[in-house]
């Protein structure tokens, strides 16, 4: 079997359409960021989460080896060379001038041979331990030892050498052009530079002009080349025969390797700005236990944007212990609740691709499906219709969900009355709890935070000194709805200890004041 960096055994059938939750979790933005610059459409790979642990670990091992900078760099160089190779091959077929076609064919051969050799050497030097890399290494070793490859390599180099030795002169006299083989004419520009060297000082202005470079020959260049063919007949005859005899490259396995590598490199490249800014990524421990956790994770698409705009990226953590299954996220508007929920969903999807997830460490659940419910803003129907639609969608998700599923519910029922929302959310949470699935629920109904022993309350924080400032930190905390109010009270000097002190002062100032007592602290 041919070696693959993606599949330990036979490949999964790739999904062509993005999963339903992709947009809700901002994964579409992430994937566009990753594949946008790539030559191949690798989207289907990102749409197809792996279902078994062995396949996930197979890819994780590939990723772990890519942490070696030398290997990583070598693979980048390899993919770039493959790109150049394709360009040259295309030219060797499309261009009209036959000598040029042959010239680019030779160029392609050189790039190909060099790229294969460089990759072989990089793998040998860095000896990555992943099974996938070992298979690739073995394959390359075999391939480069084959007579076909060695023949190609040898002849390419010989011919390139011969062409590099073609030096010629052009004498331009008005409308006359004379082409001659280069002799021992003296370099004039160096002489001129030497002549004026005594005046040289500092860093001078550069007067050189940039020229645009085209690959095709224009008619004048063709005539010059015609002259060169006559002046150097042997070299051009060899070139012609080379193009006829070496049509057997590139090897299909190496072509496949190119885009498989790009799956990993594209994602690494996308994450690089955040990694360079000091944000951690890790290979998650994926398992069938529901006690999941993530330390200093973040929502990838939002973090990327915040970093680019020079804003602060705030990592968040969570962990579920024992019977805990449901994260209930509450707190002020625009406080980072939705972003937190997306982070949990994203981490799971990325983990199922076998990739690193944002965070210092992660223990994630091997789930069979991810379901999301985000408010559809575009559906501006009457309230009843909208509520019905929401319920329908949630029902659909719940009926397809299994105990091995992950649900991300964001601000459901925000457009109904508080009583309705409270009632419906209670019902839904009961269903989720019965199902024993994992869930993240963002809601404004704070009492849901203490729904049962399976729920964990996460509260988006505000800055205590300036309650108007969101910190985007989401912390495991009792949701009593008081954190925000208390911060405002403190700002005005009305917190309990502040009031005690102030009242004590005013008490001493005016003894025998009013008998109004303070309410007891609960």
């Amino acid at each position: 079997m041919n070696p693959s960096l993606l599949w330990p055994s036979s490949p999964l059938a790739l999904t062509i359409e993005p999963p339903a939750y992709f947009h809700d979790l901002n994964l579409d933005r992430v994937v566009e960021g990753v594949v946008g610059k790539l030559e191949f459409d690798l989207r289907p790979l990102f749409y197809t989460p792996l279902q078994d642990l062995e396949a996930i670990r197979y890819r994780q091992a590939v990723v772990a080896d890519l942490e070696q900078p030398a290997l990583n760099q070598a693979l980048w160089t390899f993919t770039q060379a493959q790109h150049t190779l394709r360009e040259h091959l295309e030219r060797s077929q499309k261009l009209s001038n036959p000598y040029q076609r042959q010239g680019f064919f030779l160029e392609a051969a050189q790039v190909y041979v060099d790229a294969v050799r460089a990759l072989e050497q990089a793998l040998e030097e860095n000896s990555p331990s992943a099974p996938a890399w070992r298979r690739v290494t073995a394959y390359l070793k075999n391939y480069t030892a084959s007579p076909a490859f060695q023949n190609l390599e040898r002849e390419t180099q010989a011919l390139r050498q011969a062409l590099a030795e073609v030096h010629y002169t052009l004498l331009l006299q008005g409308d006359r052009v004379t082409v001659r083989a280069g002799g021992e004419e003296l370099d004039y520009q160096g002489e001129i530079e030497l002549l004026f060297a005594r005046f040289r000082q500092g860093a001078p202005k550069d007067y050189r002009v940039g020229f645009s470079e085209w690959n095709t020959l224009n008619h004048i260049e063709e005539r010059i080349l015609e002259g060169l063919v006559r002046l150097f007949p042997r070299v051009f005859a060899e070139l012609e025969s080379f193009a006829r005899h070496h049509q057997g490259f590139p090897d299909p396995v190496i072509t496949t390797l190119d885009w498989e590598v790009q799956f990993y490199l594209g994602y690494l490249d996308y994450c690089r700005p955040l990694r360079e800014a000091g944000f951690a990524f890790c290979l998650p421990e994926v398992g069938t236990e529901k006690q999941v956790s993530l330390e200093e994770g973040f929502e990838l698409a939002v973090a990327q944007q915040q970093l680019a705009e020079g804003r602060k990226v705030v990592p968040n953590s969570f962990s579920l212990e024992g019977a805990e299954r449901i994260l209930v996220v509450t707190g002020p508007n625009q406080g980072g609740k939705t972003t937190f929920a997306r982070m949990v969903g994203q981490a799971h999807h990325l983990a199922h691709l076998g990739l690193a997830v944002p965070g210092r460490s992660a223990r994630l659940f091997l789930c069979d499906q991810i379901f999301t419910h985000f408010e559809r803003r575009e559906a501006a129907q009457e309230m009843r219709g909208k509520l019905q639609d929401e319920l329908l969608r949630i029902h659909q998700a719940l009926s397809r969900a299994t105990p091995r599923s992950l649900l991300v519910l964001n601000e459901a029922f925000s457009s109904t009355s508080l009583d309705d929302a409270r009632f419906l959310m209670n019902k839904i949470l009961q269903a989720v709890a019965r199902l024993d699935a994992l869930a993240v629920v963002v809601t404004f109904i704070e009492e849901l935070a203490s729904f049962s022993e399976t729920t964990v309350s996460m509260v988006a924080q505000v800055d205590p000194d300036d309650p108007a400032l969101r910190t985007f930190r989401v912390v495991r905390q009792q949701a009593d709805g008081k954190a925000y109010a208390l911060a405002i009270a403190r700002k005005h000097g009305l917190s309990y200890p502040q009031l005690k002190t102030r009242l004590a002062l005013s008490r001493t100032a005016s003894l025998g004041g009013s008998g109004e007592g303070l309410p007891a602290l609960s």
Binding site: E107, T178, E185, Q189, Q201, R208, L231
Partner: protein, 507 residues
């Protein structure tokens, strides 16, 4: 080629930004430097810029540099015609660039080359004149800097070299066509176009006729093949790119050399102009001596800004031996500030390599000169003024190092005296202990008396003279601080006649 008229081994870098400009603004104001610079420039903005830059960059300087510049300035003062002639020559050379017909570098190497060739041709004339100046000066200029310049002009611009340049300029007109070398790049596209030198016809015509010709392939463009001509021009341009660049840069370098020469000469031209004006005003002028330690002594030191402004000679002062701390007290309007200013000017002019307005002046070099003068014009809130003074002092302290000179003029006097004196005392004490030279003008008796009582390491105490009749001589003489500052005298001066007339007071 280097100019090296301000430093023995390098050109003055006028492109560097002036350091600590904020503090230099204070220095300029407090020492009245604008008046000096205006006198040096006489309306010439280049001279003005140069003298300002050079003097302010001389706040820290090596002894060798001072001696070097003094030598050049002496030479020029003795050969004033030489300086003015050279300056005019350089000006004309620089103007030749503007005379070129091909006035702007366009984007093609051919036109870059064309213009460079033309300007270079014009410059050759002026380079020859420069050499002629140098030949005429041989033996007349004795300073290290100028004899170096003379000999390097003669050496670098010798006739053989200039002829060779001319020949090359002729060759670059390409009357026999352009010969390029090239190789084959990817896809058999020509690359690496470069200009080659055609072989000189060394053999006679019949030898050439009989010699085997290398095989050649020649083609001719159809006269209407306009795109073909366009392409040929581009190929030629590729080949000329480096050469055009080298030549255009050489033009720049020669212009750069002339520019540098003009700027460095401008410093001496400014000095010459100042010298002439002060001489006419009867101000004593001398070349100062650099002492090895931080002492300072002088005779007849004048405030040049005052002399220039008043248009006459002014009272000079003597200091037999200055030390790390000089305290000046005495009568109001008795010349204390003028004295302080003249010390600062003298020190800065010494360090710049200039003459000093005194009959003699000796001082050690300082690592920076700072002024902290009372701001009279500061009409801000009273409470804010002391704060402003402190923040100014703090800015100075950020830059201070041992060996600096600090001129304090009525510092910290904008607050209640005992407190101001305590602050000032602590500042002065700390500065002295850190090896900073301090000249202090103060009428805070509690401060000056305290310093007098301590008499740290030979501190010098001077006092503005008050004649027995109460009039001021504007002379600063040795003397211990005294309790009164003769405000009464000034009151008398101002109100005296008034009082007499109204018969309210009088003695």
């Amino acid at each position: 080629m280097k100019v090296c008229l301000l430093f023995p081994e390098r050109d003055f870098d006028f492109t560097l930004p002036a350091p600590r400009s904020e503090l230099q603004g204070e220095l300029t104001l407090d020492l009245g430097l604008d008046v000096l610079w205006a006198a040096m420039a006489q309306g010439d903005s280049l001279v003005r810029q140069v003298v300002e830059r050079v003097m302010l960059s001389s706040l820290e300087v090596e002894r060798t540099v001072v001696v070097y510049r003094q030598g050049i300035l002496r030479d020029f003062l003795q050969n004033t015609g030489a300086l003015e002639a050279l300056y005019a020559l350089v000006q004309e050379g620089l103007a030749s660039e503007k005379k070129a017909r091909h006035w702007a570098y366009s984007r093609s190497p051919s036109s870059v080359l064309l213009r460079a060739l033309e300007v270079m041709g014009l410059l050759l004339v002026h380079l020859r004149r420069l050499r002629a100046w140098a030949e005429a000066m041989e033996g007349r200029l004795r300073s290290q800097g100028l004899s170096q310049l003379v000999s390097s002009l003669r050496r670098e611009l010798d006739e053989a070299y200039l002829r060779e340049v001319e020949e090359h300029l002729e060759g670059l007109a390409f009357r026999q066509g352009v010969l390029l070398g090239a190789e084959l790049g990817p896809g058999l596209k020509g690359m690496g176009y470069r200009l080659l030198k055609p072989k000189k016809p060394e053999q006679s015509w019949w030898q050439r006729l009989l010699a085997p010709k290398p095989p050649a392939y020649t083609f001719t463009l159809h006269p209407r093949d306009e795109s073909g001509f366009q392409i040929l021009r581009e190929i030629q341009d590729r080949g000329l790119n480096t050469t055009a660049n080298a030549l255009a840069q050489s033009v720049d370098h020669i212009l750069g050399f002339l520019n540098q020469l003009r700027s460095e000469l401008a410093f001496y031209l400014g000095a010459l102009r100042l010298y002439r004006q002060l001489e006419a005003l009867g101000v004593p002028l001398c070349f100062p001596e650099v002492a090895d330690d931080s002492t300072c002594s002088f005779q007849g030191l004048c405030d040049l800004a005052l002399a220039l402004r008043s248009g006459g000679s002014v009272v000079g002062n003597d200091l037999t031996r200055g030390s790390a701390l000089v305290v000046i007290t005495g009568a109001n309007q008795g010349g204390k500030t003028t004295f302080l200013r003249s010390v600062g000017q003298g020190q800065l002019m010494l360090q710049s390599g200039l003459f000093v307005g005194a009959s003699s002046f000796t001082s050690g070099l300082c690592k920076g000169i700072y002024t902290h003068f009372k701001r009279e014009e500061d009409a801000g809130l009273k409470s804010g003024k002391f704060d402003e003074e402190l923040s100014r002092m703090s800015r100075i302290v950020e830059h201070l190092q041992a060996g600096a000179l600090v001129l304090l003029n009525e510092s910290f006097a904008s607050t209640y005296e005992p407190e101001g004196a305590e602050v000032a005392y602590q500042v002065v004490r700390a500065l002295m202990e850190e090896g900073v030279r301090v000249y202090l003008v103060s009428h805070m008796y509690s401060l000056t008396h305290r310093l007098y009582e301590e008499r740290q390491s030979g501190a010098v105490f001077l006092r503005a003279e008050r004649r027995p009749d109460g009039s001021r001589s504007f002379r600063i003489l040795p003397g211990a601080p005294q309790r009164t500052s003769y405000g009464e005298d000034i009151y008398q001066q101002v109100f005296g006649s008034f009082d007499e007339r109204t018969k309210v007071g009088g003695k």
